[in-house]
Point group: D2
Amino acid sequence: MAIRVTVWNEYLHEVQFPEVAEVYPKGIHGCIADFLKDAGMDVRTATLREPEHGLTQEVLDSTDVLIWWGHMAHHEVADEIVDRVYQRVLNGMGLIVLHSGHASKIFQKLCGTNSGMLKWREDGEKEILWVVDPGHPIVQGLEEKIIIPHEEMYGEHFNIPQPDEQVFISWFEGGEVFRSGCCWHRGKGKVFYFRPGHEVFPIYHMPEIQKVITNAVKWAAPTNAPEIVYGNTQPVVELHAKLEHSIQGLHEQKDIDA
Amino acid sequence: MAIRVTVWNEYLHEVQFPEVAEVYPKGIHGCIADFLKDAGMDVRTATLREPEHGLTQEVLDSTDVLIWWGHMAHHEVADEIVDRVYQRVLNGMGLIVLHSGHASKIFQKLCGTNSGMLKWREDGEKEILWVVDPGHPIVQGLEEKIIIPHEEMYGEHFNIPQPDEQVFISWFEGGEVFRSGCCWHRGKGKVFYFRPGHEVFPIYHMPEIQKVITNAVKWAAPTNAPEIVYGNTQPVVELHAKLEHSIQGLHEQKDIDA
Amino acid sequence: MAIRVTVWNEYLHEVQFPEVAEVYPKGIHGCIADFLKDAGMDVRTATLREPEHGLTQEVLDSTDVLIWWGHMAHHEVADEIVDRVYQRVLNGMGLIVLHSGHASKIFQKLCGTNSGMLKWREDGEKEILWVVDPGHPIVQGLEEKIIIPHEEMYGEHFNIPQPDEQVFISWFEGGEVFRSGCCWHRGKGKVFYFRPGHEVFPIYHMPEIQKVITNAVKWAAPTNAPEIVYGNTQPVVELHAKLEHSIQGLHEQKDIDA
Amino acid sequence: MAIRVTVWNEYLHEVQFPEVAEVYPKGIHGCIADFLKDAGMDVRTATLREPEHGLTQEVLDSTDVLIWWGHMAHHEVADEIVDRVYQRVLNGMGLIVLHSGHASKIFQKLCGTNSGMLKWREDGEKEILWVVDPGHPIVQGLEEKIIIPHEEMYGEHFNIPQPDEQVFISWFEGGEVFRSGCCWHRGKGKVFYFRPGHEVFPIYHMPEIQKVITNAVKWAAPTNAPEIVYGNTQPVVELHAKLEHSIQGLHEQKDIDA
């Protein structure tokens, strides 16, 4: 069965700036949706200004992997929707956060840090992404590096938790480095942050970048995860000894009190 | 200079239940404060019902390591104070979360998961904590295991991100295991979660448990961390080529628009 | 294309002890090969007493994932063959090490520790494996725990490097815990250690155990990894300044001297 | 008590090449020993051509942290001495591997990979080391980056296991990046790899580099680690049921046979 992807885009730059619309006539989401469809995936899009930002419970429940692109309107994303996405990730939905999505509410919430903190510069300088984990499924079919002729720079320190799997590290012409491809597990879900992808530089038209995102969707797709029982549970094996006087009564009281 | 520790306690059980007050006549915070003072630390306490929960900006700014114990009133902790603690951790303050603090707002925020999710049972069964990283500073001076005769059980799955450093894993008589001693780095700060510590079982009177907490305070104490520059920065080395037409103007427009 | 698996077994117990032969009439390797074939894989077997232990360069070059079971004759495995397997793992072959394979030369070499060190006891006690990373591909289709009625105990401390991905933790009736399902990346290859699997207890006949091993084979199978260039390489971008007097001559001398 | 450090150096370049002797008149080991003594440590040195390479069991047993610099004669280091160092690390001795020590036998053995594999170039280009874990004890008292005007380049892919703690990432003028400061735990010991440090470029005279190495020695110094019991152990808690017929006899037979 095809992986069901929802590509979410803020979709403001493309509407407001002809320079951006020229690069992404169908929006960044449209561009990404196109190459994922070509890769055989079942793709929808959603954008900020739609009701519930296009991310109703129904949409999320039928999404295997959500792709997130936002830049200048992170604050407009409703906390309620952020919580909804967060719960779906913990329940198994994959999440791929692109470029300026590093400062989105959802990514910060999943990081547990203020991942909006980094260095940046828009001089269109060269970026080179180096593969540092060559056996990782996200880099299959690639070469050992990806060269992007003109990009916005992001530099360390990037305030993220150490990635569970570090896939790419970037070099920038002006002297900076950046952890550009980072994986984390969160609950039953998987999260991939991928740095490249400015609204003016035509990054998402590059075949190598498309390859990475396509691989990442496959990596992040949910598995048939075990059902987990949480809460007050009975012993799996019989207890040797139990305390003579249970403290249960005490806690019943507490519950009333709380 | 002595490490400055603030021990935070919800301090509700001790007030409401004689059974608890008997175990911790000065409150759980008082007990912990005492053994940390004996270890040469500069210790204060703070509790939920104080103004700002006793965690004013001034208190946090002069705290090296904060210890957190809460159980039945996590929801009473104001979001504003949670944010304040969060920022201090990212800026270098150590945080030690004990037992039922796993479900506190601050721990969930730093985890990036709903760490409140786990199995539990209050039958006073035996717990054995095994050291799995014997070279870790938090286990120095200990034996290879700590046996607690009667404890509340916490069982996997515990919904945390994989620890950066896994120090202890617990065994419970009823058949469960638990990742009981877990370290994470968050920004400039360090976080240690330590499972033992019920309000009725006299866990914090055990010398081995006191040793772990004392070691953890030393491990989590802030270092003289580098100053980090975030934001729009100049290149460290001269750029070979710059794009002919800067995209700066475009972004100035955007800022106005946003 | 089917994944090409080679199941390697010491194959001594089954030959020498009727009690073992009764449990595994085709050898442990035969049992494992059978269920992997049923899962659609292309499976061969190899054993210690074959020439080159059945692991010729040709066999390894056409193996996607190697499964390793050994117990009492680790010292009989030739260092040359160990090196051959090691190189293949670094070049992308998956390796699944089972049970007493923890003390094999190849596993120790890939760990970088003396992974032979652990506690053990053969009282046939109960083992419960708990899933601690429910989104991991290796646990798909399972329940949250696997109960093995009678097993040999392995207990911490297990002298391994902290796993890149911790999948299972075991509970044993006698009071021990164990990191029973552990993943590491090594070069382009992936390594999974899975604890269960004694020669007398019929572990590999259990459907859940078969499921884990089948999932692990899929996880460890090589990807189309990038070609990496190692050694003395030219700059990707032109150097601003080069030292006036190269130190190359110096090193040419050195090479002669060394 | 002062930390007892042994600085090990191949000590061949300094003897053979006046250009190197000029930079390090007392040898690289002499230079490092001097600044560690100034930091209050108890320092000895040892070199390749001494009997047992200066690393007798007695020397290692009284060493808290060993620093390793080698380049062109890794193959001359006796396997027996490598094993001796390896055992000491697993038993708690810290190890700091510098620069070309990445290809040493001892580092490869502790990595579990062929860590000798990387890109290199000796054009004396600029290197910038960026701190990516600002709360790590190894970076205390530093700035957010270290600029080295002329260095040998090392580039990814560097064939190491993902570090337990990633402290520095380097930028090189020619377009490469490198994981330049990496921590691992191995048994009771800690290992730090630090990239800078060529025999001709006067790296070890730089105060920032001296600061990193001094911090690393403190981080890697052994703690009072728990005694671990390995081998055949009795249950901690009484077993509910034991198999009727022990399989012990079977294994006694096996031992005779093996």
